[in-house]
Symmetry: C3
Subunit: 273 residues, 3 copies
């Protein structure tokens, strides 16, 4: 199924509106291009609705959140809802400050999201209203392991039920779930955490996958998470002795560029719970 989903991305080449942070925005644009879609970045409230209307998917990322763009996020989100465009939320740093937590909770009230992708600490913050987040990385106490995987699956399904969105919780093991079905995904490589913005890139790519497969948000988000993890694996294999996190960053985007639907199908490593 992931095969057909990815083929749709490459064939339909959806245009994705991104309201995102200035740290990882270039990588988000290039990974959207790498997977076969097309990015547009626009964050001013004067054009947020109009740009979203041109596109077929919206990606809202809260990194470097600032007062100027929150209204743009809401305007674009509501317009996308009105037009039935898929909307992805990446609540970067929810739990790290009241400003981010409250903005995320407020966005959840005002916009209907198709997929919410975050680390376990960010998702717990949104699910429970508080967390142990330290900065923009997941707290060690929170991390999903084989031991607590079932509990995390329950959290993901319950969060999906509550929000109506597919929950994509990424970490050493990724969980992508709607209220009934959870994909537990074991693609990826620990070195991905040494590159800034692999999560942001995944959220951007998820928006492209869901926009090209609007009737299958769970499967599309699952395919995007597998594709990113697989890119992390392929890129890791390519590393030469002197290559570090800068090379790895480039190799991951290159791996997405060369990924084929068949390769995604064969490399995807998941079980359904």
């Amino acid at each position: 199924m992931f095969e057909a989903i990815f083929e749709n991305v490459r064939r339909i080449r959806p245009l994705i509106h991104n309201i995102t942070n200035y740290v990882t925005v270039n990588d988000c644009a290039n990974i959207i291009l790498a997977c076969g879609a097309s990015p547009i970045m626009a964050d001013d409230e004067a054009e947020a609705a109009e740009i979203t209307a041109l596109c077929s998917g919206l990606n809202i990322n809260m990194g470097t959140l600032n007062c100027r763009t929150i209204s743009s996020m809401k305007i674009a989100g509501k317009k996308a809802n009105e037009l039935n465009h898929p909307v992805v939320l990446d609540p970067v740093g929810a739990g790290a400050s009241a400003f981010r937590t409250e903005t995320a909770l407020n966005l959840l009230e005002e916009v209907k999201f198709t997929v919410i992708r975050g680390n376990i600490s960010e998702i717990k913050t949104l699910a429970y209203g508080s967390s142990t987040t330290k900065g923009v990385d997941a707290d060690r106490m929170d991390q999903v392991t084989e031991e607590n995987l079932n509990q995390a699956v329950i959290l993901a399904k319950s969060f999906a039920r509550k929000t109506g969105a597919v929950a994509a919780i990424t970490g050493a093991i990724d969980i992508v779930a709607d209220e009934k079905t959870a994909y537990c995904i074991r693609n990826g490589n620990p070195m991905m955490s040494s590159v800034t913005g692999t999560g942001c890139q995944l959220s951007a790519m998820t928006a492209a996958f869901v926009a090209a497969n609007p009737a299958q948000p769970l499967e599309a988000a699952g395919a995007a998470v597998c594709a990113m993890g697989l890119a992390g694996e392929i890129a890791y294999q390519r590393l030469m002795p002197l290559d570090g996190n800068a090379a790895y960053r480039n190799y991951m985007i290159d791996a997405v560029y060369h990924l084929e639907a068949k390769g995604l199908k064969e490399g995807a490593n998941y079980e359904v719970r």
Copy 2:
């Protein structure tokens, strides 16, 4: 002639003031350095005029356009006009939203531009006040081909006459024209569209070329367009099997870094119409 123009860039090393978007700004800075010039990015109205006065060229790019920096663009543009510094406009996304179209048209009224570089849809928007732009890429309906090249040349010359600027319309075939003469340039590679911001980079580099050759804006813009296209060709030749758009992005900047005046002269592929 392109040889002497490029030698001037490397010798004079002009300082270029950029008011540009946060998506591709790092690549713009690095390609300005690669061609031998020096970048400064400053977008607050409190310093826009002063920074422009320090520099010898100004590059205004409308990507991620926002309310805060429009006044800075005008202040810097007017100061540059007053000082007879060349000014380049990259009307990213003109036609994609009323906000961008109106801002671009308003900038054209208040600032005299030396070069306006955009894709065919953006230029049509500015020439006719409307277009079929879809997002930040040129619309397929608009694309310049061998069949409609003469019409596009007429458009470019007429737009140049109307604005007093050199028109640089880039795509599969590039046209760089003043009201009398058009260079039709066939450098470049289709893979350039898989890297975000090659257009932005070209605009930044064009500002450097024109700043080092202020008496020859047509030839300087033509040389910059050929240099970028040639870099796209050289970088493409360098690609190894696993290299994708991230490697290609780096190779293009590297190609500009190593480009020599003689290589530009020999590789430039253009005719005059």
Copy 3:
């Protein structure tokens, strides 16, 4: 001593709050990760104090300075002072505009900095209230050479005395000084100036080194300056014939990623004056 300092960075993995420019921010994040620390970028005044409180060091960088974030810099700086967190200032472009010079001087009044890292023109501007800065690069007239090194050391010590901060003046020869002791460092490679933001990256990394070694700010800043210069040397050795400034940018970050405490100790090239 640099050996133990670097080991602390890798062991403690300090979280660094960055309020920085949108040109080089991605490289700053990746070099912080490369050296073993963890970055968070947050610039809105609504969360500046809270984010700083989560972290163990703060990096304030004035590139693309704008009205919106100056108050965030002050709020975060004061909070960091209150919590005894080290604070680094990179006064990018001080001297290039009144806006930057005044903001830098104002920050010096309101925030106590642990390290101030700039080029010689920027530091002269802050020391004397004016300079010959041209843009964001040091003016040639100002450059530190073997001939004027002793004078520059006197300036650095006097500036350190005046501000209570370690002065880190980087260029062909780097000087890192408190009021009594100056390290004169001869690591690095001239090609580093062909990559945008090597100074910004160094400031970000310095914040990580000082945060992991709060009792030894002079030595920590010295170690960071040597590490960056050494990365520039190692990266230069790795260049292949077609590699330019884009490859060099990646290689420097990769070199930091692979740098070991022992390698830093052996490669550090400095004398004490």
